[in-house]
Structure formats: C-alpha cells, structure tokens
Symmetry: C2
Subunit: 389 residues, 2 copies
C-alpha cells in the first residue's frame, strides 16, 4: 500500500485500486469540499500532474491517504471506497434502457385479463400520501408512464398535476394546450383524425421530456389512447437488425414546425444513445419530419431502416390501449413512450356533445426524478465520502 502511486486495499473481499488523482479529486475534507453544499472547491488544475499516494494508513473503517508532492491528506471510509470501486461502469443517471423495465402490452395484463400491471393511482390519495406519490412517479421512471384517476375534470387542473412533481415547460403552445377539434388547426392533433404512435415536439431541442394529458371530456366513439414502449422496440430492432439500428442511431433527422408565431427545427437521431451505446431516447413523428438531406446512398439506407422501425413500432402487441375517461390524467416519459390515438366521431357541437377534450402540458424528467429522490429520503442523508458507515 505504500509508494505504488495508487491506493490499493481489500474491502468486501475485493481487491480495490484507486489512482491518486481520483482520490484527490474526491477528497471530502473541508478544504476541498464545502461541508454544507458538498460542492467542490478543488479544480483539476489545482492537482499536481504527477500526484502519488505516498502513504495510506488504515484505522478501523477509515483509510487516510497522504499524497506527494505536498502533504495533503484525505480520509475515506472503506465502505464508501467499496461502493465506488473502479471495476465497472456505474453512476448512470437512470435514463438509459439499463435502468428501465421494458414492456409489451401483454406485460400490463394479469392472467385474469385485468390490467393489474398498469401503474395507476387516485389523485386524492396521490396528493395525501407521499409514499403513493413516490410509487406513482417512480412508475414513470421505471415503466415510462402512470395513469392518475379522479383528477377533477376542470380546465387547468393538468398544471396542478405537473406542479405536484416538477415544473411546467412553457412553449409556444402556452403553459397548457387544448387537444380538441379546431376549425382551422395548425397541428393535426387538433382534428378528429387517427394519430399514429409518435413522440411530441421532436422539432424542439431540448425536447420536453415529460408529457401530461388530462381528459376533460371523452369522445362518444373512438379517440382511444395507445402507448408504446419505444425503448423495448429499440432493443427489439437492435436484436433483429443491427444494421438498421446503427443507421437510425447515426442519422440526424430534421423535424420542423411552423405557424404564424413559431418556427422550430431540430435535427436528432430517431434513436439516441448514451456514449456507451445504450438507448437513451427516441423521437418519432411522421407529421413533422422534414425532407432529409443526405448523400443519395445514405438516404436509401435510412429509408430501409426507417420503414423497419416504423413497422416494428406499429406491431399491435406493443401497443397498450387505454380509454381515458373524464378525470384521468396520463403522465408519461416523452423520450421513451410513443402515444397514439384512434380517430373519433362526435366533434364539438354535432349532436350537442361538447366533443373530446383533453388538456396537456409538458414538464421534465429531471424534476420528476428529483421529487422521487427527495420524497424517498429516509430521514438520514446518504453517506458522504468521509463518513464511516
């Protein structure tokens, strides 16, 4: 343990090794890390380029490292070091396929045909009980959506649902938007047409990562909602046709939206990967796709992959069909879940019905995950590097 330049120790029966620069950069002492905020004072350029571990002294559950040059000392708990072993990839942020539970429609149904697996909650209980809020919101992180019932079917309530876990992302559509038949729609969402599985606002960067849809009035016939797990579909594509998967992850597709007051564009791949190649996001929307401009050979390869991907997303076994009733509010991950609706009849006014009317808004996953983390705190804070366990 002395003079190698690294810290080597055995903890939890494993042989661990840490370079001096990593230890120094994570030094928990009050000179290097603000005890209150736990933010680092230390910058990488403050650390000597040839830093070595000169000495390491173990005392019970603690290990004190002395560096050279200089005489700075850092004390770490063995448990913290074992937790941060440099033997695998860790510390992801929960956003890739590896931290999700992927599903097909059938996975949401129990053996008796009831949808026992569909994550659902009742709004009054969600509001009253933090544990119910955690359970509901954690479902958005794990499965990609949750269905809240008993949200009063009143205009504007969708903003209260968003505020219960995060912050509304205002856009050119307003803080909230009405999904109903309009006489002169700038967006096909505001017609009674069928809308195929898609993600919202692919022409925006950053795209809204959470979407809410609150049903105020259901259609007499049709207007059912479908949900597809885009991460499960991407994994299936990768297994079935690696070449198509590589084309889609490697091609930025231009999306656009234009009306009198807005002109938005964003170019991103239909399937987005983390640096380690794990699925981290999907975008899919035939309505707002713009003409691809790539060399001829790339275009033909893209269209073959695009067709394969679209066919896969439309496999009936992927689509969970729900019928939103007044008071239902869906919260879903717009980077993962595609949503669709069937065509519907009874537009506003015809036969005296008010017509199908949803209100929607956007929010973001980081705020939602933060709410889950804060509500899940069990009184005690997580261990900091210098604390013995």
């Amino acid at each position: 343990m002395r003079g190698s330049g690294d810290l080597e120790l055995v903890a939890d029966g494993r042989r661990l090794r840490f370079p001096a620069v990593w230890l120094r950069d994570n030094c928990p002492c009050a000179e290097c890390t603000d005890p209150r905020s736990r933010q680092k004072f230390l910058d990488i350029t403050d650390i000597d380029g040839d830093l070595m571990v000169a000495q390491a002294a173990e005392a019970g559950e603690s290990v004190t490292v002395t560096y050279a040059p200089g005489q700075h000392r850092s004390t770490f708990s063995r448990a913290w070091l074992a937790e941060h072993a440099l033997d695998a990839y860790g510390d992801g942020d929960g956003r890739t396929e590896d931290d999700k539970e992927l599903w097909l429609a059938a996975d949401m149904e129990a053996l008796d045909g009831r949808r026992a697996q569909v994550p659902e909650a009742s709004w009054p209980r969600y509001l009253a009980e933090p544990a119910e809020r955690v359970r509901s919101l954690a479902a958005v992180l794990r499965l990609g959506f949750v269905l809240l019932h008993d949200v009063p079917a009143e205009p504007g309530l969708v903003l209260e649902v968003a505020a219960s876990f995060g912050y509304v992302r205002q856009t050119n559509y307003g803080a909230l938007f009405d999904v109903r038949v309009e006489p002169a729609p700038d967006n096909l969402a505001f017609t009674s047409r069928e809308i195929l599985p898609h993600t919202d606002n692919p022409y925006r960067d950053p795209v809204p990562t959470v979407q809410l849809l609150h049903c105020l009035c259901a259609a007499g016939d049709g207007g059912d909602t479908g949900l597809v797990d885009g991460f499960a579909a991407a994994r299936a594509l990768r297994a079935a046709d690696r070449a198509a998967f590589d084309v889609l992850t490697g091609t930025a597709v231009p999306f656009g939206y234009r009306d009198n007051g807005a002109e938005l564009r964003a170019s991103q791949p239909l399937i987005q990967l983390s640096p380690r190649g794990r699925v981290r996001g999907v975008r899919f929307n035939n309505r707002s796709a713009q003409p691809l401009r790539l060399p001829y050979a790339d275009v033909t390869a893209f269209y073959a992959a695009y067709r394969r991907w679209a066919e896969l997303l439309r496999q009936p076994e992927r689509q969970l069909n729900l019928r939103l009733a007044p008071g239902d509010c869906l919260i879903f991950d717009n980077t993962r879940i595609l949503h669709a609706r069937t065509a519907f009849s009874l537009p506003a006014g015809e036969d005296g019905s008010p017509g199908r009317h949803l209100q929607g808004c956007y929010a973001d996953l980081d705020g939602l995950a933060s709410t889950v983390a804060v509500l899940s705190r069990a009184g005690a804070d997580a261990r900091s590097p210098g604390e013995a366990s």
Copy 2:
C-alpha cells in the same frame, strides 16, 4: 428518366437523383400533406416497399412524378428539388460548431482596443425595433452571447428579458434566482469566492440551454464576469490531442446537486457530439462533478484528458472579461459558453453597500431561434415543395 426507379434530372447544371421513396415521403399534394399546417398525413408504412418512379414529366419549372405500383402523382418544383439535392449533408438545426462563429477574446477587440466586436444592444431599442432584436438574438446563435445595456436595474426585470424571446425554464431555484452572498449557501455561486469557467446546471437533463444574468448592483471591487467559447476550445482540443477529445466525448460524467428540496443528477460527456461527430454541446463544472465510476484504466485515461481540457479552458486568451454594470444583462448559450467570475469584496452589509447582486434565469435556445426566424420573415413564406419559384 423512365423506369430506373429513381428520378434523375439536371437542375442548376447539376445531375440530381432522388429515390422514389424519398419523393413519395415528401409529396406536397393535399392528400399527403395538410395544406394548412404542412404536416404530413402520410406514414412511411403507407408507402409500398418496392415503389418506383414509373414516369416523370417536366413542364416548365415543374416535374410531375408518377409512381408504381399505384398511380399516385407528386409535383415538385425544379428549384425545390435543386435545393434539396441528395449530394451532401444539410438541414442541420444550427446547433453544431459548423453553424457558429468561434472566437478567442482577442477576436472581440478591434484594432483600437475598443471592443467593437462584442455583441451589444440597448434594451429600449431592442424592445422598439424588431431588426435590433433579430441582430441581438442572432448573436446568441452565432457567437454564443449578447450583452444588453439599459435594462432597468429592478428585481424581476430579467424575466421580462427572457419573455422577449422565449420561455423561462423554471427550476428548483425558482423562476429566477438571486446571485449574491448568502449566509448559508447551498451553492458556491452564492458566496464571494472566485468561480472558474463553468456551465450551469450540468446535473440537469435537459440542461437549460440559455442563461440570463442581470446586474442589479455591482461589487465595489472584483466580481468581474468572464466568458469562454467552449466550442472554440473543443475544436482546439481536437486539433491538439485527438485521443483526449475522444475520451471526453465518449465518457459520461456524473454531475449532482442536492439540497433540502432537490436531488438532481445527470450523466453526460463533457463534450457532446452530433451523430456526424460535430461539437454540439459542452458541460463543465468542477463544483458539481461526482465521483466517476469507470474501470480503472478508463479513469486514468479520463483524468489525463480532463486535465488537458481544463487547462485549455483556462488559457487567458480564451476568456473575454466583462464588468457588468447595473442595468447590464447577459444572455448566453449555456451549451457552449462557459462563464466565470472573479472573487469580490464588499459582501452585503459590510460598509453599508448593498453588495454585488445579479438576478438570473434560464430559458431555451429553441424558443430563441424560433423568435429570430419569425422576426426575420420577409412577409412571404418560404417556398413549399410544390410551388414553382
């Protein structure tokens, strides 16, 4: 032009070739594309997998294509086809290094030492003249920032500045946040310490892509603002040390923030690339970096690259130094520009001064770019594919 399956034509003296599926997907007729919203009705799965161009008829500036199987016809203008030639990559969204003007501090100074190149504007004129608003906001897209003067030094005005081009991104810090010395800060920004060049909120995904800082009260001494073009620095790193560049673009770095009401984390590379390998974003913040968990060999390679990158970002010639006076408001691209501040004296109360006080808020680039595009419209709409020029 007949029977090849593709459309081939000569336009603008160039020989162009378009596959049938690309043409069919971009058919501008009212059956395929909503004339009002210009959104597509057609889905890729509606297009026959063996579609060919059966016939192409040129008439003046128009080309009418008839497909087989089926007898669908699409009419394109030659000019539109020439604009969308499939011979190069195009239709980016303006967000990568290729669409930016990269700079060093010296580029902002004219020969006489005045900062003739610093993009600046006066708030009353910015408000009164759309052309001045376009010029100012286009500077954020091109150079990464603009400095507005004469914004009344009143609390809350920063929200009006954000609303002049987009939408405030509310976070756990509120709609706006105060940057001043706090007695018990959860963030080192709220001390009088020096803050090295960094981007804000790297622990958030989506990260806020625009930041505003509005000076209400300057420090008596110090507290100067520095700006660094992260895209210029990334380009320099790629030229000088390709291996380090590849390590940084290929390693997700965990960032975190935690206080009583929030617990945020995001893992993203310090330099983010488009699918074609062009620089599209930087994140850099020593204060909120969390312990890396990678295999030992990856960690040592990362730290060598990280040091190189940090040293490069701190080169004095990269940093444009500004002193914000009361009424100044900086708007900058938080995915590209790193900002810093020098330490300052005279915290609040000491000697009777109110102390340095900025107010900040976040917004997003997509809304800003949309505002530039809408204000730039010259009355007439851009050509749609079916219109002759």
